[in-house]
């Protein structure tokens, strides 16, 4: 059985979206900047796509929609574009500690250029406290950036509350909606957001296009310089087929959102119930399934085994998942999100991210539960930590028995032996 549980990384294109894109490759291949019929034809198509994007997030006007190449570029444009535009007003930014690297690293870049940045902490479930945001704001603050839903642990943030206070203070609020758009209702006006980013590739649209919503109350300058495309906010030849496809994907996502979300919520419950009943010493990271968690995401830590081995074994069983474990990322550092929720290092190691999509079935979920239970058993049999836990040498973080030292203490002991 083949089961795709990595919808956070990729979604297949909807066939009808592909059909809509087709003519823009071969036939309507014009450049929207051209003044002749070939250009004007695709210009119309971009306007339509802008309207579709605006509708998905309840923007007032399609003129508030700017196209970029992906969510990362949109995040860079939101953060740096607002920072540069307001340089004279102040050089202080407020972000949460669990923003996506596209925000965090943009902020770090600005710090090198003389900006100051406050990173607001999150609680053990990954939720931002609006009062912490408020406390971080200074007279020099020119942007508050918080994500709607965390990409790793699925926590839904209290955006409207944050929007109310940034609105009162007249500070632009940027909300990264990459993980929520297409799955949760987004109303930029109700949120009090001045900037919002998302990309269609997260909801069955094409790669190669990102969206930045920006309303008049937030000044912004371009960060990719060149021609006067996108109202001078984003230079470069527009990726017309992807924009057209993205627009349709947004329209369809809007129309099917409640069914898709309800379907995902059912599977999310079935999957988590199955896993926790079959596998001891397993923990859900982030909020419990329910109003504080996006219905597509489960982030689990399975104790005494490491994440990549789980991922590889699942892949061999035909199940595609992601891992936030340190050995998987190229940096060998534990995910900053797991660090921010204070997750024990031992649990961060055995971390898996499972993200559901509209086409997953109950049978698939049951297969995943069975396969995963089998894989955990096999990997624990191979793990010296499991053995040592059973012998009472080390203890469990998830369900402490009171016997033995902590995994981390043990790991430190054995790691001390040799330096390399």
């Amino acid at each position: 059985m083949n089961v795709f549980l990595d919808h956070q990384s990729a979604t297949p294109l909807l066939p009808e979206v592909f059909e809509a894109m087709k003519p823009f490759f071969l036939e309507a291949f014009g450049n929207p900047s051209s003044l002749h019929q070939h250009g004007l034809r695709v210009r119309d198509a971009l306007t339509k796509a802008r309207r579709q994007m605006a509708q998905l997030i309840n923007a007032e006007s399609e003129e508030e929609i700017f196209f970029t190449s992906d969510g990362t570029e949109s995040a860079n444009l939101a953060v740096k574009g607002v920072a540069y535009a307001n340089e004279r007003k102040g050089k202080h930014l407020v972000v949460s500690a669990t923003e996506h690297p596209s925000v965090i690293n943009s902020v770090e870049f600005l710090e090198k250029q003389g900006w100051q940045c406050s990173r607001v902490p999150v609680d053990a479930f990954g939720r931002i406290k609006p009062s912490d945001v408020e406390a971080a704001i200074t007279p020099q603050t020119t942007l508050v950036a918080v994500h709607h839903v965390n990409h790793d642990i699925g926590a839904i943030q209290p955006i409207a509350q944050i929007g109310r206070l940034t609105g009162e203070k007249g500070i632009p609020l940027y909300v990264d909606c990459e993980s929520s758009a297409g799955w949760l209702p987004i109303d930029v006006q109700a949120m009090g957001a001045n900037l919002v980013s998302f990309s269609p590739h997260r909801f069955y649209g094409p790669k190669g296009v990102g969206v930045l919503y920006r309303n008049r109350r937030a000044r912004i300058v371009s960060i990719l310089h060149g021609g006067v495309q996108e109202g001078g906010r984003r230079a470069g030849t527009e990726n017309v087929p992807a924009i057209v496809g993205g627009g349709l994907a947004a329209e369809i996502a809007g129309a099917q959102m409640s069914q898709r979300a309800a379907h995902a919520a059912r599977l999310q419950e079935r999957l988590w119930d199955g896993l926790k009943s079959r596998i001891p010493y397993i923990k859900l990271n982030g909020p419990e399934p329910g109003p504080d968690r996006i219905p597509t995401n489960l982030n689990i830590s399975t104790e005494f085994i490491e994440g990549e081995g789980q991922l590889l074994s699942l892949d061999i069983a035909g199940i595609a998942v992601a891992s936030g474990s340190s050995c998987v990322s190229k940096s060998l550092k534990i995910s900053h999100v797991l660090a921010a929720i204070g997750l024990d290092h031992a649990l961060a190691q055995g971390n898996l991210i499972l993200t559901l999509g509209k086409d997953n079935t109950e049978a698939e979920i049951d297969y995943v539960v069975d396969s995963f239970a089998r894989i955990v058993t096999k990997l624990r049999a191979m793990s010296p930590m499991w053995d040592e836990f059973e012998k009472g040498i080390i203890d469990s973080v998830i369900a402490p028995t009171g016997r033995g030292k902590s995994f981390s203490a043990h790991a430190a002991d054995v790691s001390g032996k040799r330096a390399h």
Partner: protein
């Protein structure tokens, strides 16, 4: 699953899926457990040594696919060697025998070398009468 697309080559995948010498040795003559501070992997190798030669080697590994494959391969390679030969064992042998590892995963083979050396040292400590090779670290 299509065979064409795996993170590691066939040999590594085979040693990950069907690890050789997985487990512990009862009454082992030497046991080494080491960890990599950077990535958190932990590897344990137990040895059965008879007349200065490694008769059996087993591993347990908490770590990624290449860590498991590296320890599986290391135990395969080391069986039958003398203690002296084993002290000269280098992680490059593991990498070569596995047909290569991605650059960011070379440290897994280093960990296997270290676990082996730790087990050998454990043996030497327990058996001070055994002839110590000159190259022991």
């Amino acid at each position: 699953m299509s065979d064409a697309y795996t993170l590691y080559n066939k040999t590594v995948m085979d040693h990950f899926m069907n690890p050789r010498n997985m487990g512990d040795i009862k009454d082992a003559d030497g046991v080494g457990e080491v960890g990599a501070a950077a990535c958190g992997d932990i590897m344990k190798i137990s040895l059965k040594i008879k007349e200065g030669r490694i008769e059996d080697a087993r591993f347990k590994t908490f770590g990624c696919g290449s860590a498991i494959a590296s320890s599986s391969m290391a135990t395969e390679l080391i069986k039958g060697r003398t203690i002296e030969e084993a002290f000269k064992f280098s992680n490059q042998e593991v990498v070569d025998a596995l047909g290569g590892l991605p650059p960011v995963k070379i440290h897994c083979s280093v960990l296997a070398e270290e676990a082996l050396k730790a087990a050998l040292e454990d043996y030497v400590k327990k058996n001070p009468e055994a002839p110590l090779p000159a190259t022991a670290s």
